[in-house]
């Protein structure tokens, strides 16, 4: 079965935060919790680059390794999920994660730091698929509907790809080989029109026609 992964193309990301909004809207994420965010390097400097970051669903996930109550599990599709009924909100996973993916709501049963919340690859959690309990704790389960994460599917420039690692790698590889540079960029003509044809040089007086 597929290994589900995200891949963000920094050449295409325009920092629109559409992925962040899609995620927030799809799962009713509360204030202060950002399962996904856009990071910009050299912001404001010509040539700045942005990438969309969330849980990368690591093959050897450090959050799983450090969790003292072992509330993490990996699905057969390679998605790293956790059981919120077991989570004690200790925050070890946040320290272990190199991407800052684990988020902690500012209220709830644990006072200032609630149970950990993170990107689920839109795969819900260990509750009945598409049940009210699953939606409340983990958000919508798009994978059980045969769909891919909302952030990737909503991305306007298709900078953020999500899905089977082999397939999205192929898409990205093909894109890098074909996209070209400057006005050769694929889609340039559609966006800015074809380059104007140069007018034919005027015939010199007395020249034979």
């Amino acid at each position: 079965m597929a290994r589900m992964k995200f891949l963000c193309d920094a050449e295409r990301c325009i920092e629109c935060n559409g992925c962040v909004t899609a995620c927030k809207s799809e799962h009713d994420i509360p204030w202060g919790v950002n399962r996904r965010r856009v990071v910009t390097l050299n912001d404001g400097v010509p040539g700045e680059k942005s990438i969309s970051v969330a849980c990368m669903h690591c093959s050897d996930a450090p959050c799983m390794a450090v969790c003292p109550v072992d509330c993490f599990y990996k699905t057969s599709e390679g998605v790293v999920l956790h059981d919120k009924d077991l989570c004690i909100g200790c925050g070890y996973c946040f320290y272990a994660c190199p991407f800052g993916a684990p988020q902690f709501p500012q209220d709830g049963a644990f006072g200032l730091r609630g149970k950990m919340d993170k990107c689920t690859f839109c795969a819900g959690g260990p509750e009945a698929d598409n049940s009210a309990a699953e939606y409340k704790k983990y958000g919508r389960n798009r994978l059980a509907e045969g769909k891919l994460p909302a952030c990737a599917e909503m991305c306007s420039t298709k900078a953020l790809l999500g899905g089977d690692a082999d397939v999205i790698s192929d898409i990205y590889r093909n894109r890098v080989l074909k996209r070209g540079k400057g006005s050769e960029v694929w889609g340039w003509g559609t966006a800015y029109g074809q380059p104007e044809a140069k007018p034919a040089p005027a015939a010199a007086p007395g020249a034979k026609s």
């Binding site: 956790h82 509750e127 059980a144 898409i171």
Partner: protein, 78 residues
């Protein structure tokens, strides 16, 4: 009924009650490094796909390919 018989009957009843307490859910033993939470269902084990993994994989694959505008552009040009 002698006192001894009464005592042995009471003992048997007490033992039966004690054993009845062991018949329920077994206590969970923590195992280091093993997921301790609830089991999660496969994404195709629901009303939409009725356990048909092939159909689910087909749906996800179609969505995957939908992210490739090179193939989408070729398909729409036809």
């Amino acid at each position: 009924m002698t006192a001894r018989q009464i005592l042995s009957m009471a003992g048997a009843c007490a033992l039966a009650l004690l054993l009845a307490g062991c018949g329920g859910e077994r206590p969970k033993v923590y195992k280091q490094g093993q997921y301790q939470g609830k089991e999660d269902a496969k994404p195709w084990n629901n009303g939409q796909f009725n356990g048909n993994q092939v159909e689910w994989e087909k749906a996800v694959k179609a969505r995957n390919q939908g992210q490739d505008e090179y193939t989408r552009a070729v398909a729409s040009a036809k």
